[in-house]
Amino acid sequence: MRRTRAAAVGAVTLSLVLSAAACGGGTSGGAGSNENPETLTYWASNQGASIEVDKEVLQPELDKFEKQTGIKVKLEVVPWNDLLNRILTATTSGQGPDVLNIGNTWSASLQSSGALLPWDTKNFEKIGGKDRFVASALGSTGVQGQDPAAVPLYSMAYALYYNKKMFADAGVAKPPATWDELVATGKKLSKDGKSAIGVEGSNLANNIHQVFVLGKQHGADFFTPDGKADFTSDGAVAAVEQYVDLMAEHKIVAPGNAEYAQNQSLSDFSNDKTAMVLWQTASATFASQGMKEDEWGVAPAPVQSGAPGQGKATNSMAAGINMAVFKNTKNIDGAMKFVKFMTGDEEQKILNKAYGSIPPVSSAQQDPAFNTPALAVLRETLATSAAALPQVPEESQFETVVGTAVKELFAEAAAGREVTTESVRAKLEKAQQQMPKK
């Protein structure tokens, strides 16, 4: 009897302890171990037209790595929608991949969770040194003043893509360089069921990218220098209002765009329904939708003055993908070798060519393949007029709450309701109060 009772109590206790450990796990900190040197698990973000395309691009490179090092890399391509939640779950449970891709804007948020291996000088030396990377790309790898939480892998920038045929049909000679020109041009292009520019009104991250850049142009950063949310400054309100007004006031965005979140604006562009899109590295998508390279053009995204640069002339966020090592890895040496391999000159050229992005590694960037007219604009933007999103731990929340506010404002505009400075400010105030208290 005693034994049975003891067994029962033991089983229940064990189950409680196990589940508590599973829920609160990941406590075994440190900087990884080499318990499992034969294999690596890699979570790649979905970069290509589909997950299958990504596998086709990556698998041969992973095989090459296995041949060189004898380490087998188990690949999982994770769709964007799931990636952040998957990383969060892995962080909580401590059961994550060895190496993973993160959106570079999440770097500071994920760094604050303590789940990612810090890239101090010693670790950077193992992959050839920090100097190999372009400075703007390093700007989105973690909180300033701390060791980066990740290493840049693919760099991207926003540019204005325009449909040459639609421009010619409307008698527009060149792409707009200022917002005033964009609105004026847009009015000529918006007719006969066609519209001037596409937006992804229900895509929170895209909303944030656009209003962040406009915020810069209005002198707003959305966060104070000490990292507190500052969503209701005049500049931030003006930025959001200016973006939503493209639909609400100027009517150069089709109302249907308010519910777009799955890159439908790119399909409209390819089908000659929308004349312009502000996008990052769109060439591969246009090609996959049957558009030939000479059918579209690319120009720097507009700025208020017409001449992109720093500060109020910023015309893109420094977009891109970073590579991080999970702190709990059981193959730290293998993980380092793998990051070195993926950020090596040769692989950088192969991968960035395949994805239409720019290598964040200076030496690889010199390859003539990245000097085509389209990529030259992106490269120039990254080098001279792009800014990193706020590298604060709350960046991820910022994307959600302000992105949602912009989505709701687009819904208002699409329903034909007026969007005013006051209504924009009210939405942003609500967003700010949803942020965690500091």
Binding site: M1, T4, R5, A8, A11, V12, S15, L16, S19, A20, C23, G24, G26, T27, N81, N85, L88, T91, T92, G94, S109, L110, S112, S113, G114, A115, G201, S202, L204, A254, P255, G256, A258, E259, A261, P393, S396, Q397, T400, V401, G403, T404, K407, E408, F410, A411, E412, A414, A415, E429, K430, Q433, Q434, M435, P436
Partner: protein, 330 residues
Amino acid sequence: MTTTAIEPAGRTASKLTPGKARSPRPPGRLRRISLPYLLLLPALVLELLVHLVPMVIGTVMSFKELTQFYIRDWGTAPWAGFDNYALTVDFDAPVGQALLNSFLTTCLFTLLSVGLCWLLGTAAAIFLQETFRGRGILRTIFLVPYALPVYAAVITWAFMFQRDNGLVNHVLHDQLGLTDSPPFWLIGENSFVTLLVVSVWKGWPFAFLIMMAGLQNIPREIYEAAALDGAGVWQQIRRITLPSLRPVNQVLVLVLFLWTFNDFNTPFVLFGKAAPEAADVISIHIYQSSFQTWNFGTGAAMSVLLLLFLLVVTGVYLLATSRGRKTGDA
């Protein structure tokens, strides 16, 4: 289970003389007493793992200041006392206001959805009681929404409700000309209607299935006797069918209520991570508070409040309906 436990004891007793019957025989007695507990143990352990442990952990989290800084080792998060609860029930501040709006939206949505599911399910079950040609096919068709994988079904609805390319607007606007301009279904106020339509479409076959099973238990003779006494179809439904289905209804309404109130899949697949305000039902709201803004402590407090609300509603409902049944039986 009772039979299993008694049988070995009976056999043991028969072999003993009356004088020795009470003498201690530890192994047999032990087995007799512990067997039911042993048999219950796997279920108990699983129940603990699946429900109770997360519930306890969730409650603990609701008293913690749990943000991204602590998720890796949430036990180290500082205690927040009742701060998370104070924040969620402060209906003058945005967080509380949004929660209250979401709660009221969910109540209205659940009321309408459960009501419509019940009505459609009952009507269809009664209609299909009579045998006629094609009854089997109709039964199968009615059950299709229940058999389809939720994700695939709801994403199809999401495509159909798209403003510019969706089938719904194609029929309403392009073909029937019922609207001046194609309405939005996935953003703005109409999103509530969208959610309701998909929820009812998904939920009513279950009501139909349960009602059909309930109807099988009503003896045909009662209807025949009622018909002989001159009762019409409506009278038969009102006086025989519905009262006989009462026990089935009690369970059905409760289950539909709980499923609908907590449904996450339908709004999530329809609207994505940020549901429109009109369709910001509580499950999505809590998800966004926890996983999108990483306020895990606040999200946990909201979950605990929701759990308490559902427990109270379920308790009151069970109490009221069981009392009603006792009175009815007497």
